[in-house]
């Protein structure tokens, strides 16, 4: 049975200027110990999706419809105290910007001891501190620095601390929201490798959210490509790489620069993401699609199963496979 099952999830932001449907009808599953990549531009809804899984969609967001099952339990039905015991312990979240994710007035060791003692109430202060020392040491943080404050560390170090906090209680699932976007390239690779190593050691499932498809292709078993709140393509990474179907996915893959080519024109997808207060009718992507058809502009595009566990939301594949939904 899969660790995580998301079924027809829809999330709205009810702002004073109108309702924004940030996530629309999203369904997927994730097995224990596997990785899922969520790829998409800013505003595609991937962060909202991530936050929904731990039920922390910020005001004025509301989960309108759907089910999120973790180990068979629908977390949307849980009372808040039970949800809190899941957060940090069973499911951990790593935020994008390490510079602002830590409490500026709390020592970093305090972050960890507090976490341990919240979820494992009978732990003594000394025990929690010992465990903290071990965790932070494994992450490359010098023992003499564990009583320092967050602002005394660099961005890369702070992200390591965040990762440490995430894995401290050995969660089943870690959601990493753009864990490397705020870091420079060299540190990026180190952090991702670190994450991967820890994942293998502890057997955690990982959802990696990023706008950088190259990272996701390298490190994930399954990939979801999101756009304007909808899943446009969903397949294993091997399949997606070999056989990208959606014009958007193709565009994204083409725009990844190839280090080995001497002369290269950077291909970009023309246009920009839609205004979510008033999105295009029909397929959300049609204004930027080079293969747009008449039906794309008018009818809501269904998700199509094209075999090999590969799903595409595009009318160009509609007649080929069986309709899903």
């Amino acid at each position: 049975m899969p660790l995580l099952e998301v079924d027809s999830l829809t999330v709205d932001y009810r702002t004073s200027r109108g309702t924004i449907r940030a996530v629309e009808d999203v369904s997927f599953s994730l097995e224990k110990g596997k990785t899922l990549g969520l790829a998409g531009e800013s505003g595609s809804g991937k962060s909202t999706l991530g936050l929904s899984i731990i039920r922390l969609v910020p005001y004025p967001g509301v989960i309108v419809k759907g089910h999120i099952k973790i180990d068979q339990t629908d977390i949307l039905e849980l009372p808040e105290p039970r949800m809190r015991s899941i957060r940090g312990r069973k499911v951990a979240y790593i935020f994008q910007d390490p510079m602002t994710s830590l409490n500026p007035v709390k020592k970093i060791s305090a972050h960890s001891t507090e976490l341990i003692r919240t979820h494992e109430a009978n732990t003594s202060k000394e025990e929690a501190f010992e465990r903290t020392k071990t965790i932070l040491k494994d992450l490359g943080i010098l023992p003499e620095r564990i009583n320092d404050y967050p602002h005394q560390f660099s961005g890369g170090m702070r992200q390591r601390i965040m990762i440490g906090l995430a894995i401290a209680l050995n969660p089943d699932l870690v959601i990493a929201d753009e864990p490397t976007t705020a870091l420079d390239v060299i540190v990026q690779a180190k952090i991702l490798d670190l994450l991967e190593n820890l994942r293998k050691i502890y057997g955690m499932a990982l959802i990696l959210i990023s706008h950088d498809l190259s990272i996701i292709l390298e490190r994930c078993d399954k990939i979801i490509v999101m756009y304007a709140g909808r899943i446009l393509e969903y397949a294993s990474s091997v399949e997606l790489h070999r056989n990208p179907r959606h014009p958007y996915t193709r565009g994204l893959l083409q725009s990844i620069p190839n280090v080995e080519l001497a002369d290269q024109k950077l291909a970009a997808i023309l246009g920009s993401p839609p205004n979510m207060l008033n999105p295009p009718k029909g397929c959300r992507f049609w204004p930027r699609c080079s293969h747009v058809m008449e039906i794309c502009r008018t009818k809501e595009t269904p998700l199509v199963d094209i075999g090999h566990n590969h799903f595409v939301r595009c009318f160009r594949y509609h007649k080929e496979g069986t309709k899903v939904e």
Binding site: T15, S16, Y59, P60
Partner: protein, 294 residues
Amino acid sequence: MSKVKIKRSILARLISGPTFMAKKGPSGWMVILGIVIALALVIMTAIAPWISPHDPNAINVGPIRAPPSSQFPMGTNHLGQDMLSRILWGGSVMLQISALSVLVCFLIGVPLGLFSSYVGGIFDRACSLVIDAIYAFPGLVIAIAIAAVLGPGVVNMALSIAVVYIPSYFRVVRSQVLSIKELTYVEAARGAGAKWYTILFRYIFPNVIPSVVVIATINFADAVLTAAGLTFIGLGVTKDIPDWGWDLTDGRALLPSGTWWVITFPGLMVVLLALGFTLVGEGLSELLNPKLQR
């Protein structure tokens, strides 16, 4: 030419103001409510000579310390003066003092702030040091000190109060100028050879106006309260002028006998006046502060 543009846009704003404000949610409503209250009081004071039933200074128009009745809707005080008439007339002093002090603050604080922060350097630091020292000092104490040495009178009181609030204008203007000064379009103007006064008045000043307006309204409310306070201590205008502040001071002695009406109605007026301007100021400041916009 640019000045005409600014004037026209301000005028256009004023006309479309209320509808514009109403659409902006609770902050907009605050502003409208504040303006309505303030305007009502100003108008009431202005037309007092025509609608006042009695001469506010005339004594013994009715029984002494009479409670509110149909004849004297707000009662009479210890001199037999009609409270209603005194209420209608009494705002004039406070309005004059507050308006004058706001004007003085604006005329001194804004140019000083603009100039000082734009020029920078030692001059700016010296000014800031002096201004900060005044700013940190208890406002009422400054007002008392100056009023004590200057003596009674509308102008003197206005000046005392103005000194207290000039630092607020200075600081607000300065912080705005400092952030605008380094923006690219200002740099571009400088690069194009614009003179300093052009940059200051065409580019920087218009951006500073909204914050100054907010400060001015809050300043007005504070001035009202400070003027009342000064009068209460005995540093107010001379007794022959009807003033809510004096009623509050006199009414104090009447409290032990349970004569509540002499302080209640003037007190209510002062609160309304201060409230009106505070609402406008707070509403405007919320509208201008994007951080609080959801």
